[in-house]
Amino acid sequence: MEEFALIFGYIYQYLDNIGFLILAASGLIIIFGMMGVINMAHGELMMIGAYITAFTYYAGVPAPIAILLAGVGAGIAGIILERLVIRFFYKQLLSSLVVTWGLSLMFSQGFLLIFGPSILNIPTPFGNFPIDEQTFGIYRLVLFGISMAMIAGVWAVFTFTRFGTHARATMEDPEMADALGVNTRHVYALTFGLGSALGGIAGGMFALTATISPFFGINYTPLAFITVVVGGGANVITGLLASVLALAGSQTLVNNLVNVYVGYLGMMGTALIILLVLPRGISEYLERRKIRTERASGRE
């Protein structure tokens, strides 16, 4: 029983770390991974989601609906941002970095001025369950489940829907897509809005377990970028999954073998090594291997 609790504890931590990274990165795989916009304000979109969740929750809306409203609110904020600012900076990596960094400062300082340094968070639901002498919170597993559902949802939208096909065509070759009758302006705005909405939902989910403050986003943006960059742009979803499996795996292992401090270093070290060996990310490597095997089998 004791061994079971120990092993379960490791698996639980692994799932918790995977869920955390996927939620932080889920919107960014669309905005950075697909659209190529270095959105430094991603954490602030999550922060907006957290505020919307808290305000609607305390206005009497049940938590799940409050989180969905956060997605809607952050999505609308994203579309407005895209129309007013971001669209002038496509294909300009450094400019988009500076502009979105400025936006992130404006958002966090603006929220600080309007709402003060912090607001009341939301109670963590679902309680916990015991195994041996340890107890485990259920909400962390729910976070993991929702993160998986979000990834599946993104994959389904971009694979099976008309909007997904248009979006992929637009990201691949905007002029050709335009010539074939795709309204690329709408596609860009909606894609950015979808990425922002996912960020807002993630922020809303974290609002049930974190401090809600104007600087809420600072903690998530760098981790989200590391996760997406390690995953690579060739296939953002398989890339993200491979990336979180590796990063969360090394973090969980080192956390338990040494301590949490070295665990963070271990995660950063893993990211560094992966990028040294595979500078274009894991998914690029996987795609190349797939093509090579296909060619090899084609020759036979």
Partner: protein, 429 residues
């Protein structure tokens, strides 16, 4: 002939230059000595991770300055002068503290600099300020032990918080404790003070671990604590990210009694997290809004009237206020803003009877305050239960190792292992 004309010209030029230099020097000295008001320069984290904790401190400063100025100012150098409060935002970034301290000293010609939330920020600012022979104040609860001629501390030291707090916890819950804290000078020092308290009162430290700022994933630590199963926990978790420990621990079913001197007192987490996240937390502040002293009620009323947006009057609001009042007393007593005269006045055991946590006295030989501290427990509904008044405690740590700053300031920091009587508590670590 040519020479004759040239000579007086160069002489006139030299005389003019010389006169101009003397005049400008005189004006310079004049303006430095007869500034129109007394300059109090403050640097606090008004944005970033620590703004939650540090913002109320600036409320304390502003209220104290307003009271002094409304009463007509302070009689120095033969005239009544107002305090000019200059406020900078340190942005929760250590490196800003050095730059802004220089701005306080050289651009604003500050008579006193009060700065910093974390110990790391404090040292960045303090080194710069004392190097330029300007009076420096840190107005948090601190790790104590800094023995420096120019540095003063208004908040409680571990003798007023850690020792009585841990003693009470051992007596009421049992001897086995664990310690987790942020990885920087303050929490490392509080870890040493926790070991000292355990040594003095028969406790045992089962494990001690430090975490970088920004850690927000706590499941590994929660599991580790549950495996050890201590009688109580001691925390020094700092910043908005680290305190995410509490909702995660609560959801994860870890509910062992806990003691901390930063939680609640600094971050009023009981007002920021939904109940019962902080239930069973024990704190020993020198001041928070709930302190049952008549001074506190009056203080909070004035503060709320001035800053209706204030969520909670934390320990920093109280000690920011105390520090300004102590300086006002010292300037008035010295009758000047000249640094050495003001330090002598501060070292004459200056008192702040209206301090919100009850009467407060700067012990001149120690540069730390003598004050009351109070023990509270957080209830399931996040109200605070007042358990007991821990009494009026003198700061004696430096005195016991032979420091008397009226005579000679060593200009360094001392920690518990520096006390030979306590050295045994740290063997094997």
């Amino acid at each position: 002939m040519r020479r004759g004309i040239f000579k007086p010209k160069i002489a006139t030029f030299a005389y003019t230059l010389f006169a101009a230099l003397i005049l400008s020097a005189l004006i310079g000295v004049n303006s430095a000595e007869a500034k129109e008001d007394i300059v109090l320069c403050t640097i606090d984290d008004l944005s970033g991770d620590f703004s939650i904790m540090a913002t109320p401190k600036t409320y304390g400063y502003r209220l104290a300055v307003k009271e002094v100025n409304d009463a007509g100012g302070i009689m120095v150098d033969g005239e009544m002068k107002m305090i000019n409060l200059i406020t900078y935002d340190g942005q929760s970034q250590v490196k800003r503290y050095q730059e802004l301290s220089q701005r306080c000293i050289f651009d604003d010609e500050a008579d006193v600099v009060m700065a910093a939330y974390t110990g790391a920020e404090r040292e960045a600012a303090r080194r710069e300020v004392v190097r330029n022979k300007v009076i420096f104040w840190h107005n948090n609860q601190g790790e104590g032990g800094i023995a420096d001629h120019y540095s003063f501390f208004s908040g409680p030291t571990p003798e007023q918080q850690v020792l009585p707090g841990i003693k009470w916890m051992i007596e009421n819950f049992g001897p086995r404790l664990i310690y987790i804290g942020a990885d920087y000078n303050f929490c490392r020092a509080i870890g040493a003070w926790t070991r000292t308290a355990a040594g003095l009162y028969g406790g045992s430290v089962e494990f001690e671990e430090y975490f970088p700022f920004g850690v927000s994933q706590w499941q590994a630590t929660i599991s580790k604590i549950q495996k050890v199963g201590p009688d109580f926990q001691v925390h020094c978790l700092v910043g908005a990210e680290q305190v995410q420990f509490y909702p995660q621990a609560q959801a994860g079913g870890l509910s062992t009694p806990t003691w901390s001197n930063v939680t609640i007192a600094d971050g009023y987490e009981h007002k920021r997290f939904a109940a019962p996240t902080l239930a069973n937390m024990h704190v020993t502040p020198g001041y928070i809004e709930d302190v049952p002293h008549a001074n506190s009620k009056a203080f909070v009323e004035k503060l709320r009237a001035m800053f209706p947006e204030m969520i909670y009057a934390n320990e920093h609001a109280g000690y920011g206020y105390v520090a300004v009042k102590a300086m006002a007393g010292a300037w008035a007593k010295a009758g000047t803003t000249e640094t050495e005269a003001v330090i002598a006045a501060l070292e004459s055991d200056i008192e702040v009877p209206e301090a919100p946590g009850g009467p407060w006295i700067m012990r001149g030989d120690q540069h730390h305050g003598a004050m009351n501290s109070y023990l509270f427990r957080v209830n399931d509904d996040h109200s605070l239960s007042f358990i007991e008044d821990l009494g009026f405690t003198e700061p004696t740590f430096l005195r016991n190792i032979g420091v008397n700053m009226r005579e000679k300031a060593p200009g360094r920091q001392f920690l518990p292992p520096d006390n030979p009587e306590w050295a045994g508590f740290f063997e094997g670590n």
